[in-house]
Amino acid sequence: MSATAIAQRVALGTGGVTQTRVIESEWVKFRSLRSTLFSLLAAVVCTVGLGILISALRANDFKQHGVLKGIGGFDPTAHSLRGLYLAQLAIGVLGVLVITGEYSTGMVRATFAAVPRRLPVLWAKIAVFSVVVFVVSFVASLVAFLAGQAFLGTAHVGVSLGSPGAARAVLGGALYLTITGLLAVGLGFVLRNTAGAIATLFGLLLVLPVIAQALPSSWYDDVYKYLPMPAGGQIMTTVTDRTLLSPWAGLGVFAVYAVVAVAAGAFVLKRRDA
């Protein structure tokens, strides 16, 4: 091989497509879109801002009217983490867009021309997305808890991270958001259409529990606790609700929804034309 040919080869790099390289590629894609930054920022603002607001209002309420006896159901931890329910909208939309944004622009053809086996792209997107979302939402969840408890503490109802279940709830909040995002990613691969995937996601999360209320009460108790949001949300509470699943069992059920969506996405991804 001549010197120029060798130089040429060096200039082009060597080796083939690997999972690590595809993850690197997806990381470049993920951080080079403004929608990523805006969605993550919105999630943080919702989590922290709403957590502080709700905690401050409740603390004020307690200070004015006193803590009512027999309000054993009050859950200071869940209170300060309430903002995560709003943040799930931002994370859900981001999860959908990471996939459908490629389909709507045609980018997906360039992606699959570079990685024709396709599945490495799905795993790489999931890896990049879930790590970033988990880290960001864990920080947001922790800040919301600490700030929220500081406000609740002024009414002497605050708890610390050492309180039973508090640390688990804070970590659980981040896991809840991450799983929401993965459910969104899975739906994105299955539906390949932004509006359809977002509608389905929030139909599952927000509308199903409302529809379930129309069920006969004997069925309602059996069905409601297995719906995605009521099941997954338990991880953010420290006060037991006997009609619902335990925190980790609930999160497990929630994760099953996400796994099913991702598996369905992987299944159709290999079979459909791009």
Binding site: L12, G15, V17, R21, S25, L33, S35, A113
Partner: protein, 316 residues
């Protein structure tokens, strides 16, 4: 080397690609020609594994595209619609593609330079003109310095300067010994770029020929002869395989015998010739001849539209 064997794609009842078999050789630009909807894009998508064939196989350098460990270094593809996320900058788009195959950043800057997008590389692609988008698509295709290029309508949306640039680029890449397969619905464009042609209509292979062969296939070579003694010359030239038509009293259109012979016959008989002009069928006419059968079963209006599309010229 690209090889398609019995390549077929069916969408429900519709056969988009119907049993295509062809081989694209390195070293020349091969044009893939046919009207819109002839199945060119579908065929190209099957070549790079984006669409799965209903039947048949497609290989590039001996194996299916999907089985190449580093596809970007093997094949560069530019697909019909822009396959670029509009929210990303040109440079980030290329960096993301390069990362999948371990192509260094230096090469990204090199191809940006090569296609002339250096000034806008940091800008979001959403603001690009059609021509800039095409240039970015070509930069993506060249990223891995591949030995095979598959380009779907690369001149679409380019200004004359851009079209000339593509033409020269493709010719130079072919001269390097690369395999270049480029689609177009414009015969006139292909005539200037390609030296071999794969012609399709309604998903079927109509011709797999060199540009010269296509012109010959039209078998319309005629000689225009003008003489005051048209009737006398006509009887002298008459013979087997010779067809003579005349429009005016002094004008003959002769085929089946070349201009040298006509000149000699006329000189021998002392007949003065005022004009003796060999006329070759244009590539467009040749093309219409080849595709006539494929369009016979459509409406006259469609035939006219087809002619306009094929020749890129609207006489109506």
């Amino acid at each position: 080397m690209i090889e398609a064997r019995g390549l077929t794609k069916r969408y429900g009842d519709k056969l988009a690609v119907d049993d295509l078999t062809f081989t694209i050789r390195p070293g020349v630009v091969t044009g893939f020609l046919g009207p819109n909807g002839a199945g060119k894009s579908t065929t190209m998508r099957m070549l790079i594994g984006l669409d799965a064939p209903t039947e048949g196989t497609a290989t590039i350098n001996g194996r299916p595209y999907i089985e190449h460990p580093a596809p970007l270094r093997e094949v560069g593809a530019l697909l019909e619609a822009r396959a670029i996320h509009t929210g990303r900058s040109a440079r980030n788009h290329l960096l993301a593609l390069a990362a999948t195959t371990g192509i260094p950043k230096r090469r990204v800057d090199e191809v940006i330079d090569l296609v002339g997008l250096s000034d806008v590389a940091g800008k979001r692609v959403g603001g690009f003109s059609l021509g800039m988008g095409q240039r970015l698509g070509i930069a993506s295709a060249l990223l891995g310095d591949p030995g095979t290029l598959i380009l779907d309508e690369p001149v679409n949306g380019l200004d004359p300067e851009g079209i000339l640039w593509i033409r020269n680029l493709l010719k130079n890449l072919a001269a390097d010994g690369r395999t270049i397969f480029v689609s177009s619905h414009l015969m006139s464009e292909m005539a200037l770029t390609a030296s071999h042609l794969i012609v399709v209509g309604r998903g079927r292979l109509l011709a797999d020929v060199t540009v010269q062969e296509l012109t010959k296939m039209a078998s319309r070579d005629q000689v225009k002869v003008r003489t005051p003694h048209a009737a006398r010359l006509r009887s002298l030239l008459a013979g087997e395989g010779v067809v003579i038509t005349g429009r005016d009293d002094d004008l003959l259109e002769v085929s089946g015998i070349d201009s040298t012979e006509i000149g000699l016959v006329a000189a021998g008989a002392g007949i003065p010739l005022v004009e003796l002009t060999p006329q070759h069928a244009s590539l467009e006419e040749a093309f219409m001849e080849v595709t006539r059968d494929a369009v016979e079963f459509i409406t006259p209006q469609e035939v006219d539209d087809f002619a306009v599309v094929m020749t890129g010229r609207n006489d109506a």
